[in-house]
Symmetry: C2
Subunit: 558 residues, 2 copies
Amino acid sequence: MAFKTDIEIARAAQKKPIQEIGAKLGIPTEALLPYGHDKAKVGQEFITSLKDRPDGKLILVTAINPTPAGEGKTTTTVGLGDGLNRIGKKAAVCIREASLGPNFGMKGGAAGGGYAQVVPMEDMNLHFTGDFHAITSAHNLLSAMIDNHIYWGNSLGIDERRVTWRRVMDMNDRALRDVVVSLGGVANGFPRQTGFDITVASEVMAILCLASDLADLERRLGDMIVAYTRDKAPIYCRDLKADGAMTVLLKDAMQPNLVQTLENNPAFVHGGPFANIAHGCNSVIATRTALKLADYVVTEAGFGADLGAEKFMNIKCRKAGLAPAAVVIVATVRAMKMNGGVAKADLGAENVAAVKAGCANLGRHIENVAGFGVPVVVGINHFAGDTEAEIAAVKDYVAALGSEAILCRHWAEGGAGIEELARRVAELADGGGAAFKTLYPDEMGLMEKIETIATRIYRAGSVTADAGVRAQLKAWEEAGYGHLPVCMAKTQYSFSTDPNLRGAPEGHVIPVREVRLSAGAGFVVAICGEIMTMPGLPRVPASETIRLNAAGLIEGLF
Amino acid sequence: MAFKTDIEIARAAQKKPIQEIGAKLGIPTEALLPYGHDKAKVGQEFITSLKDRPDGKLILVTAINPTPAGEGKTTTTVGLGDGLNRIGKKAAVCIREASLGPNFGMKGGAAGGGYAQVVPMEDMNLHFTGDFHAITSAHNLLSAMIDNHIYWGNSLGIDERRVTWRRVMDMNDRALRDVVVSLGGVANGFPRQTGFDITVASEVMAILCLASDLADLERRLGDMIVAYTRDKAPIYCRDLKADGAMTVLLKDAMQPNLVQTLENNPAFVHGGPFANIAHGCNSVIATRTALKLADYVVTEAGFGADLGAEKFMNIKCRKAGLAPAAVVIVATVRAMKMNGGVAKADLGAENVAAVKAGCANLGRHIENVAGFGVPVVVGINHFAGDTEAEIAAVKDYVAALGSEAILCRHWAEGGAGIEELARRVAELADGGGAAFKTLYPDEMGLMEKIETIATRIYRAGSVTADAGVRAQLKAWEEAGYGHLPVCMAKTQYSFSTDPNLRGAPEGHVIPVREVRLSAGAGFVVAICGEIMTMPGLPRVPASETIRLNAAGLIEGLF
């Protein structure tokens, strides 16, 4: 087979009209709100009508800690969906939407890769159905209303130094990280220091992805804390009366987007919160809708299983009442080698010893995920240079743990290359072996929740936090937020907070530098390291070469 | 007939699928890119295929100077389109898109009113097809690339004090008018003072509305001047290599949007530049497409005829090679009374003398428009309280000028109420009486162009400008921009620069305070008064009461 790039493959896709894709799931044409011929939103009325139907089986695709070698988590999610359809199952995939801004820095990404992709790829890397623009508008309306309230007399007594609500833009723009607004005199308000985050870091994004419907969305938006008074009393979004208008701005964005895989199977692509300061999963409404319509729903969570699967279980599933029936952990021979100490430049050479050494990282994730009471299977995402001996080393290692690793060739072969994994996943999901449980109960104290994740998932020896952080957590418990889950913001590259520490470290220290309350989303964020919420552009941004060519095709974006 | 609000009427509309509306103009279904069931973009390939077809007749709807009494220019545009269709003509209307931000300050507007509206009204006041979001993204990508260029070494030698390119947001947010960006130290760049405008004030908006196709769009974007060096040499968008990526972001936004009137006639709603610092007309591509598909195309221009029609003729028609076949000037009895000195509170009482006195404003506009070589007819937009004697006074006044005023009841009766005007307009357009000419030739000097508009249209006695302004105009002439038309930014409420001076003043002074070069859009802006490019929210913004009600309908937006 001649080598083609992801975009070449995507452009060659024989897409079907989106109404045909919807019909595969029993969605009537009139319940689809089309955006062009290959994208549609599923109507709320139809979604509501499904509520008494039984749910299909939910399958989470997660991964080892990411390495520069690449894992292919989305690729495997999409491939597994196609594989399940190929073996005669009614399956859909649920993945996140891409953020526009970063595509102008580094090249944009496919949704999946090779012959396991979701299309239309160009649209998904650009404005798509406008969801992120709606979130930007809703977020910034609240920002404008806060400064407007202060301007017109500040009857709520907002302390201008304690406005925690910033503004957002879906753009990599470091100049906006830290700004002073309202300069220019009396007509423009009271100058104060603030900044912009990228849209995906907005609490509005996290809320959209956790809300069950528009009423829940509005309630959660109202619950957001946006500022404090001089006495440190919280000011809620509701106090500004912004929640209703924000909901109106988000009413279409709340409806899940339906697209298709290269093999014309249904894919829901909806929402895309940060995976560090937020929970990194596609929307609850998309997942729930897919579960009503398909027998198997394959979804993924951001980063490796230590962050992604943990948040999927402890935040998304807990809050949405979901329970996964099976989990796939994606690993690659190359990534095992890197975990085993091999540099990226040397990945081409067979190195079974390094693979074996690196498997500790995979083993730790298997053990962690199994701890949630869900059957686990490993999917080895095949790369052309993998040797038989290396693949066998991974399989043997996983088998020794009582699990199973299955080689998958979906990147090169599409659904046909992942049938074995699809069969095994269906067996596991149908086998009733899952007895899902979260890692900690709601009643546990906030600091103890952090410590539980740190010691049981990261295998840290201890958690450090200064008195201020501990006092803040106590204060939130007293204010009635103690029941919330915690959302860990830490490097995705290691179980520790040192991104260079691969493998399966233990006994390390997790320092909690700062905690934040996302009262509307419904979690407490524990920040364990530097977290960037507004990226910058590189020296030579991709945007310098992005253009339409003479044939009207986009160049440079991929 | 029971009184219904605009939104009640709009919601009760019996909308047809947008494919049926397209079919009325001969647009095949596959050439329509649907956005839901009642909005679509017209595909570029189809538009290109029309290029050898003959053009229909272009009819401009303009108005007297706006007063608080209301004129109903858009209402008349929409009504006239319906009226033409009713009398058996193949007609389409072309109007502007609404800006999102201002709807959260004051209540949003219908596109038209009463029984002469374009629908879906809610969508048109919210995200619509995402065009303005795309413009915001394209504009701010360039902003980010400018600061990024400076950050990484500034090889172009941009003077940070002379970056003229600001950022935009489609929001009324006075706190963003004047800001300092890039605070926070080395990692965030070089602090400098700048600000945000509302999206409709972006030069990108003006360009999108003047560009003939994507290639022309890209060229114009590249031509924009974004900054100067310390030696005052211009830095172009092209120098930053942002034009290609901006074009990619705008590729869908460039395609005209098709919607429908309440009477299921086709309406193109595309683009919406400011009518002061820009030319205030819907897009050239929409107008041209409509002209290829319909026999009569009814369009409008922002504000009264002194600003709107003048710019339509001297900027849009000149640059796009368009020629109007007839012009309708909208007037109301109430507005004539206000021009005749009656206060808004006293408009209820009959006052024929005031109507007669106020007609001077209308007369001036008739004379001005006739000067462009185009036949003129006046449409009196009927209000319930108008008396026979008042209406007769307007008709007599206009007849004495050798023109004609026709009473129109489209607000209350839809197309049926405006058949007489429709018949007359069709006669005028078909009569071949038009010999369109612009007010000034390209070769005229920039200052002389300003003086020509001021003396011939505004009937000013003189134009004042300080030496700096005159030197700047000279410098632009020397730099090759002397052939550009001028775009006057002045109050819309008077022929003068005093918004309280109604009627038909003459001999006043027009002070040019500042000039700006929109090198990509292709005009020189002459600013004659305070121009606000970022509105603020009022004390009690509409957003405080906007919400979805229990039935899922939007409340408070209209």
